[in-house]
Subunit: 388 residues, 2 copies
Amino acid sequence: MRDVAVIGIGLTNFGEMWDTSFRELCVEAGVKAIEDAGLDGEQIDEMFVGNMSGGRFVLQEHIGALIADYAGLATNHIPSTRTEAACASGGLAFRQAVTCVASGMQDVVIAAGVEKMTDVSGGETTDALAGAADREWEGIYGVTFPSLYAMMARDYIHKYGLTREQLAQVAVKNHFNGARNPIAQFRKEITLDVVKNSTLVADPLRLMDCSPVSDGASAVIVCPLERAHEFTDTPVKVLASTQATDTISLHDRRDISTIDATIAAGNRAFKMAGLERKDIDLVEVHDCFTIAEICAIEDLGFCKKGEAGKLTEEGYTALDGKLPVNTSGGLKACGHPVGATGIKQVCEIVQQLRGDAGKRQVNGAEIGMTQNVGGTGATVVTHIFGRT
Amino acid sequence: MRDVAVIGIGLTNFGEMWDTSFRELCVEAGVKAIEDAGLDGEQIDEMFVGNMSGGRFVLQEHIGALIADYAGLATNHIPSTRTEAACASGGLAFRQAVTCVASGMQDVVIAAGVEKMTDVSGGETTDALAGAADREWEGIYGVTFPSLYAMMARDYIHKYGLTREQLAQVAVKNHFNGARNPIAQFRKEITLDVVKNSTLVADPLRLMDCSPVSDGASAVIVCPLERAHEFTDTPVKVLASTQATDTISLHDRRDISTIDATIAAGNRAFKMAGLERKDIDLVEVHDCFTIAEICAIEDLGFCKKGEAGKLTEEGYTALDGKLPVNTSGGLKACGHPVGATGIKQVCEIVQQLRGDAGKRQVNGAEIGMTQNVGGTGATVVTHIFGRT
């Protein structure tokens, strides 16, 4: 396999984008990535687009071709493929792009992610998202994602004694970071009291424990590492690209507050990169709910089970901590247009390794990691990146 | 890149499968492919699942994980990815599996395709399928797939003078073949009069010019060619795997009765395989409507534009003709569960090259080709296969 590097990134603002359509969002991110890489669109050989539910949110399937067309890339008839694994759809698109270049099949490949969630009513959004769970054994009984993650949180609290303050600190930290990210949906800091006093959604999760419904898009361009300096002075090398699957239903897991697919994908990633946990300078994890960040830190092996709450409270995962987590603001504050999230995480790590992260820059960041989750953990995609 | 071979195939019956669920269909095809390859499920490294619109048809997304789980493959936490490009979703899943093995990322990879279309009303099915076209510039104005292909047919007839009998002969031929395929939805022969007297759907297309709404699934297992003989005495080599994109809207094309993405993907496939048109012994093309088979034969370069109707009438594309087309019965008679079709085409070619096609066997078949179309031709996937 050939070594692969990221040579360009592009992001739209995340939020309620009433005046921008699904396709316009994705094309905006793609064009920014093309400009960032200093490419002509004609140099792109293949495209992957991560999207969870265009069929439900905007009544549109066939999304790879749609985006290639509106980006002006259909004139060269490049291949364009949509990938889907619920909220991990973007991570999958990136992984397919890496595989495509690694194989020698193509040289310059763009991976984009997009979701437009605010064009339908809240009930429709909630039901579409429930399509990420098992429709026949979960969704049909009325279970929604806040309630699934609430069950994970209750199980976790029962086993490990996480406090309300520790859980709330995840949101406080991620809002602190999001306030420093120009594309974030929520660019304001919050306090522990704001989280603790927010509306109860699914006990113990309150409104400020939950990531929002968002519109947005993200894009990344990869090429063989040996060609990267044709396009950029600051290529970022892909050190590992891994993915793992678990049961789609939460109730079928051996342990509902441990995400085994995160353990599997993470272990494979460290093996592939030949690195240890202590080598990672920062990590973007999938904090669709505050409890998910706690589990992710532990299941990736950065600490033992039951320790992440205390570490969060002590500032270990803060922007100036030993292991900054979700410097972008995470899904909680940056926003969570589900198909776009996995690639936004990659964009954040690339900005950090380039030293381009502005007010949220982690000093001396050399190696970063991403963890992107589908559903309650039935799909997990992890990537490790290094400065070159 | 490593050479890749097909070592196992599996198909469900195609039709209205009232007593089999979406996931059961896909698992049935997968298990048959695993048995055909003489594998243990534990030997499978990665999975791709082609599906167009689980979100609309069965309210289910996150389909890669769902199928891996119900196939018992989540216990090993293998990666599983859904691909989507409307009716070309299956072809894409197969192409990703080929790329994955070619890259050296994995060794034994399964590609499946599935659609369950009969669980919703006819109106919902038609609207979900319209998600393969441009929702904002086609679907919103009430255009459906029969009407889009009818416009292509009218343009073709205007330019080339195709007769009603020539068009009907596509359906007659494919029903002749389907009557010899045990999994086909319509296992009976029809006459020209049956086609000509069937209900008008969208002038000039009648009911018997249209492929049906179907349930069904298909699966194929690939591995490196050098390992293929560990599993089977009759591996089939993948000689080319290509894909091309065009504008999603029909009205944006330079010529609405020529599918440029077929020309592009086909040319790339012949170049990749180092073969000429005359080397192909049989081909499975995407006859979602009879006119689509006419265009496919021409756009793949097997004859000049305007000649395929006459060739069809003369028996050139019949089971005992010079170039048998759609020996499976095609989408028309075998059925068209959209996500499954691209991989069913691969299964048909593999059966033919193995000499396992029973009453529809093409004598001495050495090299076969598939062409799988998304929408009105915004995505085309082509593959060429050879006996080893």
